[in-house]
Symmetry: C2
Subunit: 351 residues, 2 copies
């Protein structure tokens, strides 16, 4: 029998909990440790923390001594879902890399860390190579819809003049943290103030997606421009966590532009709001490639974001274990695939 | 300066000619040899053979001594576009592999040679590993729309119950060889007769696409069923090469079914005909994944087939040069990308 893939999950918020539940359904993978931020979860059985019917036999470790979760357990991969930035992620994944774990993280900036954190990216790459492990940032976006999928489509092109892609999604299922970060429920003035102060961040990842696309195609990226505008509702919109009256902000329309040779060659548009259907807005993922041949792709409704990110974190496990040491990206690894069989059969064990 | 990628093109039909023209526009690639089947092309300058305005400085070699095209020229990659089957392709690419060339072929069965040619697949893999080179079969289909793109989409899924994908295209731009192979212009009886005799082959590649999908997802593939039905026209349809009266055959509707655990879990549908618009049929690529989440993708019109295959043959050059030795597939290599910059910068030279 092939050895199972041994995994530790760091982060037990909605993303991390979803990852754990998915892992428990996969053949050939064993979850051997978990790390939580909140004191209320630490020291308890993971099954109890997640509200499952039975115990899993994994006691949740503390972030203050994360290596407790993998020490002596011959762990292959750390799945990391705690933050968005490389600055926050680096100190957390550093110890895992040094202890010989491959890392897959949902931190948006890790999808292409060279974009905004070139020095830390070099350091991660150096450490990963030194310790013979591979590091990947992935997720639905950045990591899939507005970068890897676009790049893949250009593979059938002789030439590409310009790329325009839009992801229209629905924030209604999300909780307060996400809603606040998008400015949902604020006044227009409050929205602009929040953007200026950095409390309303909108989507994190356009700079990473745009660099990934440009580098993959061989375009020399000049400036990246980004804007965040309030989506002001004309009708009342409501979720369990927020009420938005007409004239107030139901979401954030984020736009990213990649300027190449002085021209806008990459345009990414990402309006995120609660209940878009109340104003007749349909959700979907749209990619237009102006090139030879032209390509016009629609996915309606949009690929579910939370599910997509959780799935990619788990489905990329074989690719990251089989990869060369160093920092990897969704553009440098084989395409993902749903893992429906015994995952251990997909691993090429080294040495 | 980085060394250019040195390429030989084998096959100068419409596909091969398109590949040559695309290669000539790419920075960092040098075409150093070409091989033709037809005597009328051999010994002539490639520019003349392709009807270009000027000479290229490459004299077309004969298939009877193909290694003349690469001997002493330090060639990195053979691009091979002469046939559809592994049986035909193997003796041609064998010599190239033994002489240390990586190979990218448009032979449909090479997209997943293990599907119908497991013994030859093993032999190619063994030879490639022995000589330290990599071999890939690619093209729009098999190789992209009805396999790699589907697999990629499942990467965002927790689970997949069933896959249904359809490629509706237009054969009007094609010449007599393609039209005859699809039965265009025959009677219904003639069509059935041609299918029985193997002169009407329809699309080659469903068995390869279905195996690639099943293996990637970890599904144990049982039977593959395939059918070819005539598309009988109600109106007169005409191209420069064929006239089809009402009641006659305007194309071939091919269906492939992958049976897993006794159920049809993969359904691929590929109706190919001339002038589908005359009966109100719109062309497009459609992928439906019944899973968590469900995915409904449309690309309209369909990705142009000839261009797509030519583009993939060229755009996969960096991936095949950077790959480990052996048989590769579109599911085992990094995603393709349009090559718009200096291709030599994408190559990790070994040793």
């Amino acid at each position: 029998m092939l050895p199972k893939v041994r995994v530790v999950q760091w982060g037990l918020g909605s993303m991390g909990s979803g990852i754990v539940k998915l892992l428990l359904n996969k053949e050939g993978i064993e979850l051997v440790g978990a790390i939580a931020h909140r004191d209320t979860k630490i020291g308890k059985d993971l099954g109890e923390v997640l509200g499952l019917e039975k115990k899993i036999g994994v006691i949740v470790s503390s972030e203050s001594d994360p290596s407790q979760a993998w020490r002596g357990r011959d762990v292959d991969v750390l799945l990391h879902a705690t933050c968005s930035t490389v600055k926050e992620a680096f100190p957390q994944i550093r110890k895992a890399i040094e202890d010989g774990l491959n890392v897959i993280s949902s931190a948006e900036e890790l999808a292409y860390p060279d974009a905004q954190n070139p020095e830390r990216a070099k350091e991660i790459d150096r450490l990963a190579k030194k310790h013979g492990v591979s590091v990947l940032g992935t997720g639905i976006n950045p990591g899939f819809v507005l970068d890897a999928l676009i790049i893949m489509l250009t593979g059938v092109c002789f030439d590409v003049k310009r790329i325009e892609a839009t992801r229209v999604n629905d924030l209604s299922p999300y909780g307060p943290t996400v809603l606040n970060s998008q400015g949902v429920g604020t006044t227009v003035e409050g929205f602009r103030d929040g953007v200026a102060k950095g409390t309303i961040v909108g989507h994190v990842g356009f700079r990473e997606s745009i660099r990934m696309i440009a580098d993959s195609l061989g375009w020399k990226l000049g400036k990246v421009e980004e804007s965040r505008e309030p989506i002001v509702t004309k009708v009342k919109r409501e979720t369990p966590f927020v009420k938005v009256e007409p004239g107030m902000v139901a979401g954030c329309k984020q736009v990213g532009r990649g300027i190449i040779d002085g021209e806008e060659r990459i345009l990414l548009v990402h309006p995120q709001q609660i209940h878009p259907e109340l104003e007749g807005v349909e959700t979907g993922d749209y990619i237009k490639i102006e090139g030879t041949p032209p390509i016009d792709l629609r996915i309606e409704p949009e690929i579910a974001g939370g599910i997509g990110t959780i799935a990619l974190m788990v489905n990329m496990i074989p690719a990251i274990m089989n990869a060369e040491p160093g920092i990897m990206t969704m553009a440098s690894l084989p395409i993902p695939a749903a893992l429906l069989g015994d995952v251990s059969t997909k691993i090429r064990r080294k040495g």
